[in-house]
């Protein structure tokens, strides 16, 4: 699971008001190389929740992203490379996503998060 995916997921348990961002418990993180595409990064940037991405990157051991980001940074090649790596190349392979409100763990196995809810959570 890429951190880009993590940035779009939230806990949908019934009664939870703020299920985003999910905390990351990382057991195994892998890197998979992806072609560098600056246009994609510039397009996706406005849709990214930056704070959540920074926290997620740090949770998987990547500290190269600045605490705050603004669109002007998209002109910097360094910044784009770091963003590229964090969003697309780092994968949470094994571990869990944790609901920030309830602490419910959503397991991640073989890179696939299981967000399915139990009957009493719907």
């Amino acid at each position: 699971m890429r951190l880009l995916t993590h940035n779009m997921l939230s806990s949908n348990i019934k009664g939870v008001n703020n299920g985003f961002p999910l905390l990351i418990e990382a057991e195994k993180v892998v890197e998979k190389l992806v072609d560098f595409n600056p246009d994609f990064l510039r397009n996706i940037f406005p849709k990214i929740d930056w704070k959540a991405l920074v926290a997620a990157a740090r949770a998987v051991g990547y500290g190269e992203l600045p605490d705050a980001a603004d669109p002007a940074m998209l002109d910097s090649d360094d910044f784009l490379r770091h963003l590229h790596h964090a969003l697309l190349q780092l994968h949470l392979e094994e571990g869990a996503l944790v609901c920030p409100e309830t602490g419910r763990r959503f397991p991640v196995n073989k890179g696939i998060p299981n967000m399915l809810l139990h009957e009493d959570e719907v």
Partner: protein
């Protein structure tokens, strides 16, 4: 007279899942038929909604530019909707609309101002893909290929207009187009 039983081929990876057939291809055909518009639209965030998508409705509200949905639409007893078994893949409830009626308001929240929704549906046994967009999205008026041959069902959410553009195609009739 010997009885005939329809044979449905299953995929190798799962004993209950059948191979993609007309209804799945209709969605692909519709997207291909609308390819030029889609490319011009330059969507930034696309989403495919399937069974059990754990999507963050709040997180993505107003951000999705293109959404593709193949909802379960077969009329079934209501209790089969969302059940644990394979039936949830097709069970659409009493009138086949249970899931669709939940998806439409969700799509309304998720789609951006210029967002498009493509949804599979059945209309008198034929395969249709319906494309929805917001009233405010003027870009679509440029697409003249679309012939509106159906009055908007009033039950769809107010801010979305339902049209049947040139993309309402039966799989069988589409091989020669484009």
């Amino acid at each position: 007279m010997p009885s005939k039983i329809a044979q449905i081929r299953l995929v190798g990876s799962h004993f209950e899942v059948y191979e993609p057939c007309d209804d799945s291809f209709a969605l692909v055909d519709a997207l291909l038929a609308d390819l030029t518009n889609l490319l011009e639209h330059k969507p930034k965030l696309c989403m495919e909604v399937g069974c059990g998508s754990g999507t963050g409705e709040k997180r993505l509200a107003g951000l999705v530019d293109v959404m593709v949905v193949n909802p379960p639409y077969v009329p079934t007893p209501e209790e089969e909707v969302g059940c644990d078994g394979i039936a949830s893949a097709w069970a659409g409830g009493e009138n086949g609309r249970s899931v669709i009626d939940k998806i439409l308001p969700m799509a309304d929240k998720l789609l951006s101002d210029r967002g498009w929704l493509y949804m599979r549906s059945t209309e008198e046994e034929s395969l249709h893909v319906i494309k929805f967009w917001r009233d405010s999205d003027r870009l679509l008026e440029a697409s003249e290929t679309g012939t509106v041959n159906k009055i908007v069902p009033t039950r769809v959410i107010e801010s979305l207009l339902s049209h049947f553009p040139g993309i309402s195609l039966r799989r069988s009739g589409n091989s020669k187009s484009s």
